[in-house]
Symmetry: C2
Subunit: 310 residues, 2 copies
């Protein structure tokens, strides 16, 4: 398997390290602040142990040994086939780190950015190696949720797209191709559309935040989590997606037109929702709630694999 | 447990019969066409056997014996505490069946309509027992997906709302309250918002239907299927939902404004999507694909129960 580098040792970078090491790649994790390595090591160790506990990897220690840490960017970049950038989601930060990497890259290596919405064309245009750069946007955390959005810039080489696709598949991820750069890509546009409607329903008082969460969690989300929206409607009409679309397109158009002047989510609604949602946190604590989430995601991933969904 | 009636012996009515009988209720299933009873009986038998096979009910035969069939509306209605209407989703059909039931209802009984979008006020206004009528909208199929939207009309008694909530909870369903009638209620407004975006992305050529399905199935849907959208974003920011909302509201507003003149889903896109989605059907066959879906939903429901999600 390939030599890989990860730029940034936060939660996303650490989870990416598990993805690549699990599949047999060597991984060098870079951070300019070496004080962060201990937290990253602990996160990786705990998650590898959990994966081993469910039999989803054979030898946690061996996988962990493939991961090294470095505060020297050159070491994380120079001889790598693939580099995954996972720094803070801010244009200036991405620009700077891509410019620094550009000096150090081996010709032909590919760099995927974890950017969740900023397209690669905004921070790679003037680079020497821009044809090897693209977005490879994961879902948090990538070692448990397989989807990766591959979004090439107009100047990205097809070979870089193909390489990233192949690597992600080899690592057990589920890559999709976003054919042209679009604000929010596919995932966050879909999430945003649903969130915009959810906030509107909440602001207008039609339902509590808990009940809106329930509608997705105990309703829509159950089918979506193994079928997606098109396949869901295909099986929700005796004659399939076309009959469904022709029958219900007018309803959904009417729903869209009833909110055709989109407004920002209101401060008051955000404050009220926070009070409601806070009650769902484990002991009122976000990090502890994330551990709960990741434990469930891990068990769910195992169920999906055992059931043939993944 | 209560005596219940089901009006309509199609897939939804048959699945409702399982919901109530599984919880210990007596269930009388009405259909004006008794030739449909055999298919309903077979559906119920197969699904009770599947539930028993996974240990989710103890005695399939005993549960099945609580369900009887009748072509006499009076028998399905007169001495029942709760009646679930599950006829064809068309205003005239709902109006007629509610008017006929109105003559036969015991005072104080409650009638829930399975309507997925038509509010109860459109077909109950002139009834003698209108204060006992409301919408109890399930997700298909209700014996596997617990969510039920309870949508009272302006004249629905609070006691009817409370009774329906209690009954649904006793039956292991997950009821939510829609506080005022709104087109599409909560579930289909959320589904519609996501579908409108999905169709737009597809029509504009940003991704294939398969890749859009994957984005939800292998990405968004995994967290949504046990957390819902608000809890998901609460755990997707170190500081919780408020920080997330303040940071990302502008992006999502911009996404919404980029499509502020909603159009019907295009015929061409529907046709193309049908061709793509057809390939995912088991042996090109919708009924067989639904069996696959329901088998996975059943296994998923068991996983959710075992994991404490349900």
């Amino acid at each position: 398997m390939h030599k890989t580098g990860i730029i940034g040792s936060g939660l996303i970078g650490s989870s990416w390290a598990i993805v690549f090491a699990r599949a047999g790649c060597e991984v060098a994790v870079f951070d300019q602040d070496p004080e962060k390595f201990e937290a990253s090591r602990a996160y990786i160790r705990e998650n590898l142990d959990s994966l081993a506990g469910l039999g989803m990897i054979v030898d946690a220690e061996k996988v962990g040994q493939r991961i090294t840490f470095t505060a020297d960017l050159q070491e994380a970049v120079r001889d790598k086939a693939y580099i995954q950038e996972a720094v803070f989601e801010q244009l200036e930060v991405k620009r700077e780190v891509f410019a620094r990497m550009d000096q150090l890259l081996r010709p032909g290596s590919v760099v995927g950015s974890s950017s969740s919405g900023i397209p690669a064309s905004c921070f790679t245009e003037s680079l020497t190696n821009r044809q090897g750069c693209l977005v490879a946007h994961p879902v948090n955390p990538p070692h448990l949720i397989p989807l990766v959005e591959i979004v090439p810039a107009p100047w990205t080489d097809q070979s870089a797209v193909d390489f990233t696709f192949g690597l992600m598949k080899d690592c057990g991820q589920a890559p999709i191709l976003v054919r042209a750069e679009v604000e929010g890509f596919i995932l966050n546009r879909l999430q945003g559309a649903l969130l915009n409607e959810a906030w509107w329903l909440y602001q207008e008082g039609y339902a509590s935040a808990a009940d809106i969460d329930k509608t997705v969690r105990d309703g829509l989300g159950m089918r979506w989590s193994f079928m997606g929206p098109f396949q869901t409607i295909d099986l929700n009409s005796p004659k399939g997606i076309r009959e469904y679309a022709e029958r219900l397109s007018p309803l959904y158009l009417s729903v869209a037109r009833s909110r055709s002047d989109p407004q920002p989510w209101s401060r008051e609604a955000i404050q009220n929702a926070e009070e409601e949602v806070r009650d769902k946190r484990i002991e009122g604590n976000i990090p502890r709630s994330r551990l709960w989430r990741d434990k469930l995601l891990l068990a769910f991933k195992k169920w999906r694999i055992d059931s043939g969904v993944e």
